[in-house]
Symmetry: C2
């Protein structure tokens, strides 16, 4: 019997997942939470083998939650769940200790396979994720250049809100010219050619959300 916990702030999706996996033989849904905080608060007495963890959540996100979980319960396996292949956080998630990675658009059989695999000590990654990883591994020197600095992320979010360089400079008490530099670096690092593409990129990489 595999004891499973689900952490996801999308209510209907989570409830659906509970039922989909709950009807599988050998799967036992121990509990489900809509935030990392709630989960960590109540994890202690539970008997858990595998956690299905959404990456993007209010409060503690999946990465932070996974790191803290591994500190107190290093034996619990984590499978990251995300919406997009492009999500750049998956490397951080693996770094935090995740053993698997599936997309939300995956079917239930893929998810079942992931849970079984990871529970028995293996790894499981959706095909799309593996392709992405292979591609990044091949071009790793390019990859290294692409990590965004905190300042760049800050500027990125304001750009996506529709602020001009001048407005952003006033918001952050910087020169407009500095913002222009950040803008250029953002386009270069993300490999996008203008703001329209940058906004889409930011969404797919979970730097902003539509909520």
């Amino acid at each position: 019997m595999i004891n499973i916990v689900i952490v996801d702030d999308h209510e209907l999706f989570r409830e659906g997942l509970v039922l989909v996996l709950g009807q599988v033989d050998n799967f036992n849904i121990v509990a489900d939470y809509n935030s990392g905080d709630e989960f960590l608060k109540q994890i202690d007495p539970l008997e858990v083998d595998v956690v299905l963890m959404d990456i993007k959540m209010e409060g503690l996100n999946g990465i932070e939650t996974t790191i803290k979980l591994k500190e107190i319960k290093p034996d619990i396996k984590v499978i990251a769940v995300t919406m997009f292949v492009e999500d750049s956080y998956y490397l951080q998630m693996i770094n935090a200790g995740a053993h698997g990675f599936v997309l939300k658009k995956a079917g239930k059989y893929e998810l079942m396979q992931a849970v079984t695999e990871v529970n028995s000590g293996g790894n499981f990654f959706s095909q799309e994720i593996l392709k992405k990883m292979a591609f990044k591994a091949i071009n790793k020197e390019v990859e290294k250049e692409k990590a965004l600095s905190p300042r760049e992320v800050e500027v990125l979010k304001l750009i996506c809100k529709g602020l001009s360089s001048k407005e952003i400079s006033e918001e952050l008490f910087l020169s407009p010219k500095t913002i222009e530099v950040h803008r250029s670096n953002l386009l270069r690092k993300t490999d996008q050619k203008n703001i329209a593409q940058l906004v889409i990129w930011a969404l797919k990489n979970n730097h902003i959300s539509l909520g």
Copy 2:
């Protein structure tokens, strides 16, 4: 007993919905489909009371599917399901004959209420949708101006792909100046101030998707 069909191309979400609603007393999930085409093709022999219909789908979308459904089976009630409050298609959906409208982030109890209400001849709209409708009704003269023309939608999609006015003009065999006009009209009609905001608006209003 209320006979329910679910039409949604998001596999895990749909499977989850089937199980969540399937365990409710008096609810009977007749079938579920991942596209409007599939649904219409197989609707004929089925005994159906209520259809939960995603708006944004590959192939036939929720609106088109609802219109065709109403032509052949006018008594079947439709509840539209969507991701965002901003989704401007909800008016078209109501026009197509939908009796209810819920957000995907709604909980299962809200969904259950919607199904029950609509089945017994009533309407059900999420609170957020009602607010939006009330607001639009108040400002209806503004509203009328905001319907996008086919050409504008076409240009909008290309803008969101990151094409410049010049590139779009080449794609559509038009003058760059014409595209600039469409651009201005898009910003004015959607009440957004630049491309960053326009892209977000297009996503929330289901003109483009991240898929």
